[in-house]
Symmetry: C2
Subunit: 422 residues, 2 copies
């Protein structure tokens, strides 16, 4: 295929005409599809329907009544399941409610109101800044922005955040209090942090004594094509003399039910005590019956992994379809670059500069709602307006095929029109 | 029965000897019973076991998949159920997670970090104070204390908090930002706020523009002997021109499962919008399957009320036993006064001044753990050391009979020893 970016004006005009005609056909066909979020498909959720009536009792393994009050930090068998899945000792785990997002928000609120390790609460400081590797997860940036924390965009490399930049900034500026990380199959690029990246994050010198790594391992057990082993940030931070630096989050939202999962926060034993010191005023305990439901359904980490393999089987044809169509329609056109993730929930693409918003707008006019362009950057502002997140999980493979064809026409149309305007 | 408080020294010494002998028998018998919390008994929880496998589908009435992401403020049918039970319009209700305590904590944290109606966030003020009608609920006072908010004890009358004192304080002091209220079958006295009390709370002039009533209607549908109608604080506040003043909390913790219930916060439409404005960053939505489970189990408010009648049947013999033994052992002795609540979870008693701690200590030595004396007051300090909370729900009637006999001996012993020491 010839690079469209090298077309003459006449060639571009001709192509624009063809694309407009094709686009019009799609608009007329009137597809209606929402691909805006990384929402699991009904077929994925069906794999967990066994949880509906799995409860044949309500006693935990240590004889507690899971229906009643008590157990602040989770029933032992749920801690064990998380422990086995993520390789974290049970005494460094607190089991939360139905979503890890809530645990991250709570962690941030605790830091705002109470601070950590005796340092000034962040809410009492004039200025607090956070590092935001981008493209990244919009809900992380949303929490930070809502709290009035200044966000600093850090470019992503294929090994994770640009660590030279991270190290320089945190060493100089004590108002930089933390960093958001999705270390495995990152949202949206599917990037896995290299060992060196994890080690540098764990060991780097920070001007702020209360610097915190928000380690959102949302896709820790979510390989699709191939699993990738990521270094354990808790161990690395401990070895580097910064045991209290990471707050490690995970959940079963994308394992069982997004609306009714079980979440986890892990940290050093000292931080676990600090968290519990506030949490004990916040709740008497999270939903233990749902914890028990999860344990009875999976039995153990092996059971959970077998379940994840089934989920991967549902995801594989979708990712393959996305990548196949991108390849067929846009390879070597010069109009789009993309990643081929080994797991996770997304495919991230980059258009020509200044074309992402227009592409998403065109796609929407043709009936397909994608994640808003810019959403993957702090303040929803993608500096180059290139990044688009494709979320293939919810549609069927057939729907996805249609949606991706529309998407490719729109990428071309926006690209060609931009080239013509230059 | 002659008043023991009028005994001669010789009579007291003789009685002390008899009581010590009786007490020794109880210590030797070695009963083990935890009555420290208002924990429902297994027999109460059994009444909700039907919820374990009630889910025969996962669609909400408006066709949403309750397993998946979404629905920030609760599924429509759960809002409707709360609406019908508490007489609050659905658009003034947000459904929460498994506990209203968590919603109260969150509300307090929002006020600390974000403030309300554009006022300075409480966490940025030098001094914040809260009114604490006492005896009251220890977990309310716990949240307040943990946040460094100064607590002011307000005496309870049989109509609710001492409103003359409340009105005077809030009119004078702008640093007084709120009040904790358990308006119906209050914890621990079972007091129901009079219409006048509710109206005065709703209408009183407060120096603080952002004064908030934390209205914890924990026992709103929990009559045992007789239901009592309490005025609706939301309506009264609106009528008085202070619509945003009350934050109204409730949950099914003591309706279905304390560990796996569904909670609610209600407020003016303006406050609901304000809450959602933060909540949308905190969570994508609470556990909708558990909401659906509750709705399918109860069907409607009538179903819930029928369930509450069954629960009342399990509580009635326990409250009767407590009151019968108190009456038989301590009526007219001058050593103890108590309330006879019409519903709720507790019976509150008052010993002679300075005898509550010693009574609870003696009872504990004999194997029965009661709520710590003082726990029902701010900073765990009962100024006169008289108040003890009896929580009859968890033990069986037989266990309760034994425990109450021990309790009565200890009340007498502590009382007699105090009289002898004077």
């Amino acid at each position: 295929m010839a690079k469209i970016t090298e077309y003459s004006k006449e060639e571009l005009q001709k192509l624009e005409k063809e694309l407009l005609a094709e686009y019009d056909q799609y608009v007329k066909a009137g597809l209606k599809l929402d691909m805006s979020r990384g929402k699991p498909a009904p077929a994925q959720l069906d794999l967990s329907n066994g949880m509906f009536d799995i409860l044949d009792g309500y006693e935990t393994e240590n004889g507690l009544d899971a229906r009643n009050y008590g157990v602040l930090d989770g029933i032992p068998e749920m801690k064990q399941l998380f422990s086995d899945c993520f390789g974290i000792p049970t005494n460094q785990i607190i089991v939360g409610g139905n979503a890890s997002l809530n645990l991250m928000f709570d962690a941030m609120m605790r830091l705002m109101v109470f601070g950590t390790e005796g340092n000034t609460p962040w809410g009492r400081l004039d200025k607090v800044k956070f590092l935001c590797p981008s493209p990244g997860y919009d809900r992380h940036f949303g929490i930070t922005e809502r709290l009035g924390i200044e966000m600093i965009t850090i470019p992503m490399t294929e090994d994770g955040p640009d660590m030279d930049m991270v190290e320089k900034l945190v060493a100089e500026d004590a108002s930089i209090k933390g960093i958001w990380c999705v270390p495995k199959f990152s949202n949206p690029q599917g990037i896995c942090y290299s060992d060196e990246t994890v080690k540098r994050l764990a060991a780097m010198k920070t001007a702020a004594p209360d610097f915190r790594i928000f380690w959102d391992n949302a896709y820790g057990v979510h390989p699709i094509f191939e699993d990738v082993k990521i270094l354990d940030i808790l161990e690395e931070a401990k070895a580097a003399g910064n045991p209290n630096r990471p707050l490690y989050f995970a959940s079963t939202s994308k394992i069982t039910f997004p609306g009714a999962g079980v979440s986890m926060v892990a940290a050093s034993e000292e931080m676990i005590e600090e968290i519990k010191g506030v949490m004990t005023y916040q709740t008497i305990g999270h939903d233990k019956l749902n914890q028990l439901r999860h344990v009875k359904f999976f039995k153990n980490a092996e059971g959970l992994k077998a379940h994840m393999a089934k989920l991967a089987d549902t995801m594989k044809p979708k990712f393959e379809m996305v990548l196949k169509i991108l390849d067929a329609e846009l390879a070597d056109t010069g109009l789009l670059t993309w990643t081929s993730p080994k797991g996770g929930y997304f495919v991230a693409v980059d258009t020509l500069e200044g074309c992402a918003k227009e592409t998403v707008r065109l796609v929407k006019e043709a009936g397909v709602v994608m994640t808003g362009a810019g959403a993957t950057y702090p303040y929803k502002k993608d500096p180059k307006d290139t990044n688009i997140r494709i979320a293939p999980s919810y549609p069927t493979v057939d729907e996805l095929e249609k949606a991706m064809k529309i998407f490719c026409v729109c990428v071309k149309l926006a690209g060609v029109q931009k080239l013509l305007a230059e």
